[in-house]
Subunit: 233 residues, 2 copies
């Protein structure tokens, strides 16, 4: 029995669905904490950073460059301006290292993508963040040839899914979105009448937290991308 009858096009998220991502952010935050600790004791540093990131989201959008600027801004703020020039430079280096990091695919991701593509499903890599960073990561991941389309978007909401599917001439009822974020991958896809599969990842940026939808014909949760082909083939 096939759980998602009629699905011909599968959207797959990049960050923390196909490849590890949040880890690079958490590592950078630990280094930020060490630098800040030279000047001030800031027990709620993570919350302060999140507040700055949220304030900047409407101008910077998602991605490493905006995150780096938010780290610098937070460091200036919580140290009362005491952070030094060379320490700011350390933060920029952190951002640079995040961008240079090799792309590490999640367990089973490559095999799942291969099986789906070989079975004739049309795969769309649908990811948000900095255009240039994400294009670089897609290329480094070495799986771009398995995808029919690669779409880097600035936000993943209902309007975005409608726009992307409209451009590709795909009916939402033929579309399944797979990803680790309920807020960005699952809920908006279900809302426009597409199907969705949630693959939780151990780390989740607080901004992405959302309520799990009720189980139903159009929604499944799996523990790993490994399980995806059996839902569809």
């Amino acid at each position: 029995m096939c759980a998602f009858d009629g699905v011909h096009v599968v959207g797959i998220d990049g960050d923390d669905t196909l490849w590890h991502n949040e880890e690079r952010y958490e590592n950078a935050q630990q280094r930020l904490a060490e630098i800040v600790a030279r000047h001030a004791e800031v027990p709620d540093l993570d919350d302060r950073l999140l507040a700055v990131e949220r304030r900047n989201l409407g101008l910077f959008g998602y991605g490493v460059k905006g995150f780096t600027l938010s780290m610098i801004e937070t460091a200036v703020e919580v140290t009362g301006g005491e952070i030094s020039g060379p320490e700011v430079q350390e933060l920029i280096e952190l951002g640079r290292r995040m961008l240079e990091m090799p792309v590490l695919l999640l367990d089973g991701a490559e095999e799942a993508v291969d099986r789906l593509a070989r079975a004739g499903l049309r795969l769309v890599l649908l990811t948000k963040g900095d255009l240039f960073d994400q294009e670089t990561r897609v290329a480094r991941a070495g799986i771009a040839h398995r995808f029919w389309q690669v779409e880097v978007v600035s936000e993943k909401d209902e309007a975005t899914y409608r726009r992307v599917l409209g451009r590709l001439d795909v009916d939402p009822r033929e579309f399944l979105m797979v990803g680790n974020s309920l807020r960005s991958d699952v809920l908006p896809a279900l809302a426009i009448g597409a199907a969705a599969v949630w693959v939780p990842y151990p780390l989740l940026w607080s901004h992405e937290q959302a309520e799990r939808p009720a189980a139903g014909d159009r929604f499944r949760e799996i523990a790993s991308l490994r399980e995806l082909p059996d839902l569809l083939l």
Copy 2:
């Protein structure tokens, strides 16, 4: 007589072709110079900044966020680390203001786009930079409805033009690219067999400088977008 017979699709660049852009960068650089001058005399500041920007281009790509990070890095470097936390915050504010700035269309841009769209030409807004910033600017410019497609790309080279035209199923011989940058708008379009119109803008980022191609059937220079419809209609 129609100079560009067979052209059905017109790509138009955004920055400094449809709307003013380089100005916001030059204004920010003046403010950077004032901040740096508190610590050090740096007669070649613009060159130093350009060198940092070029070094970062392969990681940051184009756009305001990368530029802001490069300004901060340059400031740390040329002041020997003396730039203070609050001054770094001033530089981030500069970046923020660049992103918030209203979008000012160039003289004649709106009328040209209206005439071409009403005449049935398919218009593609083709611009590079930060995805989120550019989408915001397209929306603020108030002319998005005149365009068949809006494409934000991370680089404008031959491969990009081939990819975009392939995706839109447009033959290069039916395509004309219009823009202020020889390097990004004119030369790669001509190289793939498309036509190109150059509309120079008084300010040009040094990175975009290139040799003017020989005049020919597939290349024209105009002084303002105002002249574009008469070349095509």
